[in-house]
Amino acid sequence: MPANVEVTTTIGFEDLDGRLRDAERAVLARFERKILRYVRGEWTGWTYKGRPKNAPRNVSYRAWKSTLQTTQAPYSLDVTNEARDYRAKQPYVAYVHRSGDPTPEFVKLSERIAADIVPEMAAAFAAEIRRTLEPRPRKKLRSRGTTPRVTRSLER
């Protein structure tokens, strides 16, 4: 089983295409933040049995991130975790589970998000779409090639 975690929620509506309007995107962005804060809030209470005192903690907590794609349908929300074990530098989050429960924790979180948050998100998004419904022009993505990645470090 891959050890990184990636949970993708796809949002598709028939006849809806092209870039979302700001108000529509804002609805999904609000739930993106809600889901990420929920995951981080639940990703606590781990016992670091046997871990040396000075070894890092909360490595996987820090590694939760989300991205939202609203440029073309189907729109998607990704929640990922690519944390690396502090010793072996290998991904491990997919294996993390609570004591006495073999189910990986990310599986349980995914199920709760799908049951408790995604329906609310879909309803809010649909309401915003209905509110501003009008014909949308189709959009195309054009590749403009690649350039070296830029890093700008700031210190405060």
Binding site: P56, I117, P119, R152
Partner: protein
């Protein structure tokens, strides 16, 4: 790979921690939550000010927290050309203008909130040690701060 990363490291907070703790230690969950909250605000403001007619780049932002022993976060954008995007009439890439400006907008408040949280943690460590506890191990080995509220069921 194209796009950009802007690591924002709060050395002032690291120095404060060294002064009160003796060395840089891992952040507690309360302290991480503060850092995370401000990183999210910085990202929200950057996204809000990013030009809307820029295809996928506005959708390609994300942030991650720096790893111990560094305190801070990284603002990233994976879009191919995001590092070149600028406002009309100004050739300065936004990664060099908007991003640092938004970081500066929140830095004073972040530094104040985080150093206060660190001071509170150190006080709890001191109290723990004085009452025979394990000090920092007692603070970081249990849930710190309020549990996330129960998610309400839709409908």
């Amino acid at each position: 790979m194209a796009g950009f990363d802007v690591p924002v490291r709060y050395r002032s907070v690291e120095r404060h921690m060294e002064a009160v703790h003796g060395s840089v230690r891992d952040l507690t969950l309360d302290e991480l939550d503060i850092l995370d909250t401000y990183a999210a605000r910085v990202l929200d403001d950057i996204e809000s000010a990013w030009p809307v007619d820029t295809s996928t780049s506005r959708d390609s932002f994300f942030y991650t927290l720096l790893d111990y022993p560094e305190i801070g976060f990284v603002i990233s954008n994976d879009a191919d050309y995001a590092e070149w995007i600028h406002y009309a009439g100004d050739d300065t890439p936004l990664v060099e203008s908007l991003v640092p400006e938004v970081v500066d907008r929140y830095s004073d408040a972040l530094i104040a909130a985080l150093t206060s949280a660190i001071d509170r943690t150190e006080e709890r460590v001191r109290v723990s040690e004085e009452s025979g506890g394990r000090g920092l191990l007692d603070i970081i080995s249990r849930r710190v701060g309020p549990r996330a509220p129960e998610v309400a069921r839709a409908g």
